[in-house]
């Protein structure tokens, strides 16, 4: 792999990581802590919204974030042909997993 494509791979990687971390921060520290009282004015069923995000919702978002990351990085690796030489099995894409749990 050439030096310049290694650099552009790394740049795309950083972009993916930063955007996902922005969501991570917004949901956990934003909705779950800083704006929790504000969000508590809304309700879903028996939950106050802020309370629900803090105690349940954020965790579900974390799981989804990791699966989005796995999916995006797999795509990026394929684009740059960066398969690990050890694993030559066909690439079974599992991006639907993001919806479970």
């Amino acid at each position: 792999m050439s030096n310049s494509s290694a650099q552009s791979y790394w740049k795309s990687n950083i972009r993916i990581v930063l955007s996902l971390l922005a969501v991570w921060f917004f949901i956990s520290f934003g909705c779950g802590i800083l704006f929790v009282d504000l969000l508590d004015n809304f309700r879903i069923g028996g939950f106050k919204l802020g309370f629900w995000i803090a105690q349940q919702g954020a965790i579900l978002v974390f799981v989804a974030l990791i699966y989005v990351y796995i999916h995006l990085m797999d795509k990026l690796d394929d684009k740059y042909n960066l398969e690990s030489s050890k694993d030559n099995q066909p690439n079974l894409q599992t991006n639907t997993d993001g919806d479970t749990e």
Partner: protein
């Protein structure tokens, strides 16, 4: 059959299973002993990581703490799961690519320095040690209550079991035992939660029951509204509102997240999978497996709190249920009849409150409080032991690799043979078990709180050093060493100051910027990063071959020329 007999059966069966697995997966080489020969499939590694991760604190204490903290308990929930996002995005893939055995391996090689390696060894041992004491203590509580042996005997039994399979199988034995332990602990946590959810709300999914209406026999209305109402009426804090300051909750959450991503026993799990893709995948699996328990725990907390208040407030002391008396015998429930009316007043005001309930017992007592069948009660005991032992084993492995591999092989005795290294690893586990057992018998504070400090230390030492090592090529040894030392000392001294030297000041007024010792790790992380960055600016850049290592770990897999 009685709870005790059921407990004996479950504990006996599960322990037999663990030992059987350990015998099947004896480690022959150091690679098998340290990283299971890097041949663990991602799904199995996900389960093992989850069991490794979910400790006695997660299983026994967390729901109990939340039950008393209400919304403030959120920092445990988000902190101990959100860290996995950091782990998956910032650490796991790169460390797998780096592909050695331990965290000090990475620190030592990346920062081309024996001193950096030794500091990392010291941090790894301290952190793992603080953490393992909590596990032993948890195992002791379970044994003493359910098998009615005293805590000392309980801790010794736990020590013997962990010692046996950690010493035999190393990482290989531990990994496959942890897969089994995950299954045991999640089953044991979910079954009573589902039972109680059905009992109280008619909904078999606790995560949903949490936000549902109570059945007629529990008085109807939304569970959380009712809990808020009861809490207010008795003078406790409103359950769904926060009591701690926003900045404290913010800092504690961040400290637990950074700490999660910096814990050596979690990081080394990602050295055990075959390649970088599998490292990412197994982080995903791990968080799913963890989330099953972590989304259930707040529901359990609310159910347990409601049930406890319903059951004990204002009843005749002579009419208390059997579980109450049994827990009283362990001194974890204490009733003092202040107004001598023979009834239990359980209220917020410490002047007239007559009941002290230890937070650690809520999960264990919950099935009894709800009147579930004996086998369910016993199951919880087996699950709690699985949680405590699986984590203890992972931590002991870190301690032993730190001693045998990083200290002996890589620092002081580079010429020892693989056989000798393996022997040192086993001796190190033995010594660690003994010391951990001693501290488990003479414990400080609550399990989850002790563990919370380990996180602060990991957050302030490893997390920044590793992240900067990967993402900041210019970071050099001077910066990293200064950063780790500054972060670790700052955090450790802050905790020690408020917890032992001057506990009278341990309140929101005494704290720096209103940050409690639990949350100070976040500030430690910032101190570490700032010092590291500043020092690295004024000292020479790292050698070219080290910069090449950094270039290399940023690309997954064998590099294929296009």
């Amino acid at each position: 059959m009685s709870v005790q007999i059921w407990t004996f059966i479950f504990v006996f069966l599960t322990f037999g299973l663990y030992i059987g697995i350990a015998i099947k997966s004896r480690a022959g080489s150091t690679s098998e002993f340290y990283v299971a020969g890097s041949g663990v499939p991602p799904l199995a590694n996900g389960m093992a990581t989850a069991a490794d991760w979910m400790s006695a604190a997660s299983f026994i204490s967390m729901a109990g703490l939340i039950s008393f903290l209400g919304r403030d308990g959120t920092f445990y929930l988000m902190g101990w799961t959100g860290g996995y996002v950091l782990l998956a995005l910032l650490l796991a893939p790169y460390l797998r690519k780096f592909g050695k055995f331990t965290v000090p391996d990475f620190i030592g090689d990346r920062y081309y320095s024996q001193s950096a390696r030794l500091i990392a060894v010291f941090c790894a041992i301290t952190i793992s040690f603080v953490y393992v004491c909590g596990q032993m203590q948890g195992a002791g509580i379970v044994f003493s209550r359910f098998l009615e042996v005293d805590i000392t005997t309980g801790v010794i039994i736990g020590m013997a079991i962990v010692f046996f399979y950690a010493v035999m199988g190393g990482m290989k034995g531990i990994t496959y035992t942890q897969v089994a332990q995950y299954c045991v602990l999640i089953f044991a946590f979910m079954v009573p939660a589902i039972f109680i959810s059905i009992l109280m709300t008619g909904i078999p999914v606790p995560q949903l029951g949490f936000g549902a209406e109570l059945t007629e026999s529990f008085g109807g209305g939304y569970l959380l509204d009712r809990l808020d109402g009861m809490s207010e009426q008795l003078g406790f804090a409103t359950y769904t509102e926060g009591q701690r300051s926003t900045q404290d909750v913010f800092f504690i959450t961040a400290a637990l997240m950074f700490g999660t991503a910096g814990l050596p026993h979690v990081i080394i799990r990602f050295f055990t999978v075959p390649n970088v893709r599998d490292a990412r995948r197994s982080a995903g699996y791990a968080l799913i497996f963890i989330a099953i328990l972590y989304t259930t725990a707040p529901a359990v907390a609310a159910f347990a709190r409601t049930n406890l208040i319903n059951t004990v407030d204002n009843i005749e002391y002579s009419a208390v249920p059997e579980w109450f008396t049994k827990w009283e015998a362990t001194n974890l429930i204490v009733f003092t009849d202040k107004n001598e009316d023979g009834r239990i007043q359980y209220v917020g005001d410490p002047e007239i409150n007559e009941l002290e309930v230890n937070r650690d017992i809520m999960v264990l007592a919950n099935p009894e409080i709800a009147g579930l069948p004996n086998w369910v009660v016993a199951l919880v005991a087996a699950g709690a032991l699985a949680a405590a032992l699986s984590t203890a084993a992972g931590l002991l492995l870190v301690i032993s690799t730190a001693v045998a591999h990083d200290l002996m092989k890589r620092s002081f005795m580079p010429n020892i043979s693989e056989k000798q290294e393996l022997r040192y690893a086993r001796i190190a586990i033995f010594v660690a078990v003994i010391i951990a057992g001693y501290v488990g018998i003479n414990p400080p504070a609550y399990v989850a709180q002790v563990v919370a400090y380990a996180f602060g230390l990991a957050a302030a030492s490893f997390f920044p050093a590793i992240v900067l090592g990967i993402f900041h090529k210019r970071m050099n040894k001077q910066g990293a060493i200064a950063g780790m030392v500054a972060g670790f000392l700052f955090t450790a001294l802050y905790i020690v100051y408020f917890k032992t030297i001057n506990p009278a000041m341990d309140n929101a007024q005494g704290w720096l910027f209103g940050i409690s010792p639990e949350g100070i790790g976040t500030l430690g992380t910032i101190v570490n990063m700032a010092v590291a960055y500043g020092i690295s600016k004024i000292t020479p850049e790292p050698p070219k071959d080290v910069q090449a290592i950094v270039e290399n770990i940023r690309l997954p897999g064998e590099v294929v020329l296009r």
